[in-house]
């Protein structure tokens, strides 16, 4: 819809700018608070700019979160790559090598993406304990790979649906089989699919909290659990908390800023139809 009326146009801008202020308000507060020295942080002057800029809060937050930050990196990188690779193979089979019942199998896999994870948490922990992966990053990697299968399979399946069957036929005529078609035809066409899936998985696993808090304890906790602990401590140092929140959010924010287009594609793909 194109707004022609001048007054309406002004009104539209006013609304958009007003809403932008609302959306940016938490970021403003986070940034200015994190730059204040502790004695400058007060309830009544929350909105005021810092009188002097201090990075003390960042130093404290960084020293508290750094080990957990690394834990999250050790978790996110393998979990993202593995779940993307498996999702790609699954999507390939479920779109180009359909067999009787494969559509129902796909639907049954998809269901796993919507369940409240509380419904599998107790047996999951028992299972991880029994194989010695409870309270380890490797255990969390396994969990994120398995429960990431539905979304990665979904995105790749929809993605591969757009590869023309003629291309498959031609490769088959040339004598290519299941694996060589994947390696020579499908995989090279999948780059943007992989980008979308990897960004989506990276963001989700980085931000995830329920598995992180139930499967790990001190030592192997990812950064979001450490951030939550930071805010749960007795004396609330708001500047440290805000600095911590910004540090923990930085990687996914950067991903959004630089490759937001692909992030939004993942977002839309989550609504099943794709």
């Amino acid at each position: 819809m194109v707004i022609q009326n001048r007054f309406l146009k002004l009104l539209a801008y006013a609304v958009l700018i007003g809403m932008s202020l609302f959306f940016l308000m938490p970021i403003y507060v986070m940034v200015i608070t994190s730059l204040k020295p502790l004695e400058d942080v007060s309830l009544s002057r929350m909105w005021e700019l810092p009188q002097s800029v201090s990075f003390d809060a960042y130093a404290v937050a960084f020293s508290r979160l750094a080990p957990n930050f690394m834990n999250t990196i050790y978790l996110v990188v393998p979990a993202t790559l593995l779940s993307a690779l498996l999702g790609s193979l699954n999507g390939y089979v479920l779109s180009k090598w359909k067999f009787r019942g494969s559509d129902w199998i796909f639907t049954a896999i998809l269901f796993g993406m919507f369940i409240p994870y509380q419904a599998i948490l107790i047996p999951l922990i028992q299972f991880l304990q029994s194989i010695g992966l409870y309270n380890t990053i490797a255990g969390l990697v396994l969990v994120h790979v398995v429960y990431g299968l539905p979304i990665t399979t979904l995105i790749f399946r929809n993605f591969y649906a757009s590869i023309p069957d003629d291309l498959m036929e031609a490769a088959r005529m040339d004598g290519a089989g299941f694996l060589s078609i994947y390696a020579k035809v499908v995989f090279p066409l999948s780059i943007s699919g992989f980008v979308v899936v990897c960004i989506w998985q990276f963001t989700n696993i980085w931000n995830e909290f329920l598995f992180a808090v139930s499967i790990t304890s001190t030592g192997s906790q990812p950064v979001m659990v450490a951030l939550q602990n930071l805010s749960g401590s007795q004396i609330v140092q708001w500047n440290v908390q805000m600095a911590g929140a910004l540090l923990a959010a930085l990687p996914t924010l950067l991903v959004y800023i630089f490759v937001g287009k692909y992030f939004v594609r993942g977002l839309l793909a989550g609504s099943v139809k794709g």
Binding site: S20, P26, L43, M46, L94, F111, P116, V146, G177, A248
Partner: protein
């Protein structure tokens, strides 16, 4: 060519899918069944006790003050959250789609919270909606005499005594603070969906209606709303099922709150299971959450399946 080669490849394809099928069968369906079984036992201590309890854990929950408070809170949270994301997402999408300058800029501002963790959102909004500072400072500056108590309010608006569990049924005002934070974070989803939908409506359709003398309001009501209906349904289902299982945001922002005014089943399950060792009770809560989610998700998935074939 050789049909033998193709059938060998078909087997190979199935073989590659098999590990995922087994993983989902065990980790999703197997574990759900096990949780269901645990919910029927007496395992409410640290050491497992698999003696059969029948429906005792469920009966307990449906008379439990905390569980029923959480269910009430979830109902109203879901309601207001959905209204919020649908209205905000639609209006912002329509404005952004009106050929104004800065479209890219505005869209990115409304979408970036989607990239944040609920834990970050919780930490920040906990402070912004702290009754003695944050947003309330702005209200005081604007001259308001009394300011909202946000997530510390114990008021149940339009409340009346509920026959079970001794709770008061009504709108838990404290939940509205969580709704604001959740809408702030998730509006980007409905905005992106509606924007994609609006872009998909050909201009000729609107032009045709306009030539026929329809007013803008009429075009929205008769042309745009109906065409966006499938998107609205998707948003309601995706956001609705998310809000039914919400955990992180509440856990990070408010916890269960005074009188459990901001408690939800997801938080209750986590605390009673892993902090209180009431495993069977936690399992029962989880199964109830699963049923609530399945009621809206299963028809959606079956429908999507039918739409394809």
């Amino acid at each position: 060519m050789q049909s033998k080669g193709i059938s060998k490849d078909k087997w190979l394809a199935f073989l590659f899918l098999l590990p995922s099928i087994i993983a989902i069968a065990v980790f999703v369906y197997g574990f759900i069944s096990w949780t269901g079984y645990v919910s029927l036992t007496n395992w409410n201590t640290l050491t497992p006790d698999f003696s059969f309890a029948g429906l005792r854990n469920y009966i307990f929950l449906f008379n439990d003050y905390r569980f029923l408070s959480g269910m009430r809170n979830t109902i109203f949270f879901t309601l207001f959250f959905l209204l919020g994301v649908l209205a905000m997402g639609f209006f912002l999408a329509s404005f952004i789609d009106s050929n104004l300058k800065g479209e890219f800029f505005f869209r990115n501002i409304f979408l970036f919270p989607m990239a944040l963790s609920f834990v970050v959102t919780g930490v920040v909004w906990q402070w912004l909606l702290n009754p003695s500072t944050g947003v309330n400072l702005l209200f005081t500056m604007l001259g308001f005499e009394s300011v909202p108590q946000w997530y510390t309010s114990t008021t149940i608006a339009f409340g009346f005594p509920f026959p079970l569990g001794g709770i008061e049924f009504g709108i838990p005002v404290a939940m509205l603070a969580v709704v604001i934070a959740a809408v702030w974070q998730m509006t980007g989803f409905s905005l992106a969906m509606y924007l994609a939908g609006l872009r998909g409506i050909p201009d000729e359709v609107k032009e045709a209606a306009r030539v026929d003398g329809a007013s803008e309001f009429h075009i929205y009501r008769k042309v745009i709303f109906p065409m966006l209906m499938p998107i609205t349904v998707s948003v309601v289902i995706i956001m609705g099922h998310m809000s039914l299982k919400i955990f992180d945001l509440i856990y990070a922002m408010t916890g269960s709150g005074p009188n459990f005014v901001t408690d939800v089943p997801g938080v209750y399950m986590f605390e009673t299971t892993f902090r209180g060792n009431f495993f069977a009770q936690g399992a029962a809560i989880a199964i109830i959450m699963l049923v609530l989610v399945a009621v809206i998700i299963v028809p959606y998935l079956i429908n999507a399946r039918k739409g394809e074939s």
